[in-house]
């Protein structure tokens, strides 16, 4: 929480509060101020909505398997002198 209650939020202030707002870290009354501003300011509403959507697309796109290629794993384990572990795993 890095904000205080603004009397009247400007478009520039919306940008400054955006990271906390999108991460759910703004106080309730500040959220209300932001939402009030967005209901009256088309540009800010579009910027906030599309920034939120950008993050959700990044999450959806990054949701790929976290495993590494098998040859990369093998070289890594050899480099770390963990060949035994690999051999044991392969014989199980």
């Amino acid at each position: 929480m890095s904000d205080h209650k603004p009397a009247n939020i400007s478009c520039d202030q919306i940008l400054g509060l955006l990271t906390d707002y999108l991460d759910g870290q703004t106080r309730e009354e500040v959220c209300r101020e932001i939402e009030q501003h967005m209901s009256e300011c088309h540009n800010c509403r579009v910027v906030v909505d599309t920034t939120r959507k950008t993050i959700s697309l990044v999450h959806a796109n990054a949701d790929t398997p976290l495993s590494i290629p098998e040859d990369v794993r093998e070289r890594l384990f050899k480099r770390l002198d963990l060949d035994d572990y690999l051999k044991r795993q392969n014989t199980q």
Partner: protein, 201 residues
């Protein structure tokens, strides 16, 4: 990957040189670290260097790990440093300093295209995904590393700031710039590719 995922790893066993525990740790973290390297550097060979160097450093320094940060934050810190070292080597002209007085200037949104309600199959078509990957890849390194740790690997602001040795304010500023930069590029992309659909919004 966040702190909670490493709770099952025993730091004491790692410190004591337990090879099986170390192998489990490597398997748990090799995916995220390799992905971090790929996202930061864009080349498989460089990502593999980051991966190997990171775990070699873990082996060398696990005895010095004091547990002031989580094991997860610690390994991300090592990996991010390894990736940034390669960036410095490949692009010595790039400044990676901690500019505490960074402002939000230069990132005023220009594109006001309301593409958020486009259907998912258009937003994440094969081509759109590739565009998004390239857009992330084209972020300046100082923003990209923050963005990857926070928005791709899911570290908190606090964990990201600890991993990169930046203040939380600095992390938030860089994150905002990265997010707005990507938003701008995606707005242009969707505006160009789906003008009819967006006219009907």
């Amino acid at each position: 990957m966040s702190e909670a995922d490493t709770h099952e790893i025993s730091v004491d066993a790692l410190r004591a040189g337990d090879r099986d525990e170390f192998a489990r740790f490597v398997d748990l973290y090799s995916g995220p670290i390799y992905r971090l390297g790929l996202r930061m550097l864009g080349r498989e060979q460089d990502a593999e260097d980051v991966l190997q160097n990171t775990f070699l450093k873990v082996l060398q320094h696990i005895g010095e790990f004091e547990g002031r940060s989580s094991l997860s934050t610690w390994i991300y810190r090592i990996a991010a440093n390894e990736a940034l070292m390669i960036v410095r080597r490949l692009h010595p002209e790039v400044s990676l300093g901690d500019q505490e007085n960074e402002e939000n200037d230069g990132f005023t949104p220009v594109q006001i295209v309301d593409w958020g309600a486009l259907p998912e199959d258009k937003l994440l078509s094969g081509e759109a995904k590739k565009f998004l990957d390239r857009a992330i890849q084209s972020l300046p390194e100082t923003l990209r590393v923050v963005f990857i740790l926070r928005d791709i690997e899911g570290l908190s602001i606090k964990e990201t700031s600890a991993a990169l040795n930046l203040t939380e304010t600095n992390v938030k500023t860089r994150l905002l710039r990265a997010r707005l930069n990507l938003r701008e590029k995606l707005s242009e992309y969707y505006g160009e590719h789906f003008p009819r659909e967006l006219d009907n919004e």
